[in-house]
Symmetry: C2
Subunit: 240 residues, 2 copies
């Protein structure tokens, strides 16, 4: 609920379910954004939304609820594609995803839609440090959403915010197993951790948090640059 | 090496390293395509390549070795983008990736480049059934490569071939935790399994195979449709 102390709820649930396991700085807490958004009050009720002209036109084209489209446009910096019932948007954070991340699934009220957090990296940092206060341990925190991909069917969970890890593991300039210098290898660690967690939960089980143990190779003491560092700037992007 | 019995090599290595652990049908063997390609002889030596006009022109534009570009073009169905030193291609399989998957890292000869397998789903099926012959167990097999993404920095490992699992877990039409019907949820399970494995290995350690235990929720007795089912057909693709 809006105002909930999500870190406290996570620690309570962890203690209840894993009484024998201590949280460690090698752990990654992967948190589905939906609970973060709800705790931050990032929910809108469609009956309160008055669609404007552009939303009405797009909704008619796409066969969508115009109020839902208005909420999407409110979260958008740019609409990249509006075809076949799909709105691919650049969000205010710079993420490219369907419907600007506005989602009606796993939301209690039938008229409610959930938005992405305003600053998911900041959300991750705050959850991390609040868990640190409560447990004296600073695990890494990754906040996720399910994004579709260009060119491939299906969605993968990706990181939209993180703290306590480098989201990109940059191997450029380092040697491969044969001593040849790697020229392009940058591993999207935060996104791969998000994918791991998605495999561990089911979409209808209300399991917003997954703990990944033994990920110490990927965690760090500092919060790090967050997922902002993963966004490809517009002027380097070949697919807008 | 070309002609190696890769399944036999994998089983031997598994037995040596995990003497106490039986392979099971709940396991997923995630295999980096490079060893598959090498065993299938999908390696070319640049000194044998005579670049044609288009390769020479692209190489000059991109600051690349024209022989390398020729090999890439030979693997291409279409070049989507050729800018900033990057060639984004549609491969003959239909994958969209940099350099049509042609790669010079972790290859012994300094003039050698490795191509993707001709039919990675078939490669996965053959490895799976050969492991079945050798061990009487049929684990799932996923063959992977590291692909960059539109809009985001860094690469994630993705599945380019698979057998023994449904690459897409389709939740459309099923209810969420509140009973609302999911309308767009299709989980790219094979790609998420590829991502899991990438976190477990390091890029300079010659670790081509990762075993994921406890993935029985995602494995299947049948080979399934393979990663071909993940490719978004050209006429449904908004980003070509």
């Amino acid at each position: 609920m809006p105002g909930d102390d999500l870190a406290q709820l996570i620690v309570t649930a962890l203690t209840a379910q894993f009484a024998d396991t201590e949280l460690s700085a090698d752990d990654v807490l992967v948190v589905a954004h939906k609970v973060v958004s709800k705790a931050e009050g990032r929910v809108r009720t469609l009956s309160d939304v008055e669609p404007e002209e552009r939303a009405l036109a797009l909704a008619a084209d796409l066969g969508k609820d115009a109020r839902h489209v208005q909420v999407i446009l409110d979260e958008c910096e740019q609409v990249l594609r509006a075809e076949r019932g799909v709105l691919i948007c650049v969000t205010r954070h710079g993420f490219v995803c369907a419907n600007a991340g506005v989602d009606a699934s796993n939301v209690p009220g039938s008229e409610d839609v959930v938005l992405l957090p305003i600053d998911p990296d900041d959300s991750a940092r705050r959850i991390r440090h609040r868990i640190g206060e409560l447990t004296r341990v600073l695990p890494a925190v990754v906040i996720t959403d399910s994004f579709g991909r260009a060119w491939r069917h299906g969605q993968c969970d990706v990181a939209i915010g993180c703290a306590g890890l480098q989201p990109l593991d940059d191997w450029r300039g380092r040697p491969d197993a044969n001593g040849r210098v790697l020229r392009a290898t940058v591993i999207a660690v935060a996104d791969e951790l998000a994918a791991v967690a998605d495999l561990a939960r089911e979409k209808n089980r209300s399991q917003p948090v997954v703990v990944i143990h033994g990920a110490g190779r990927h965690t760090a003491a500092e919060d790090g640059p967050g997922v902002q560092a993963v966004i490809r700037p517009k002027n380097e992007d070949l697919f807008r």
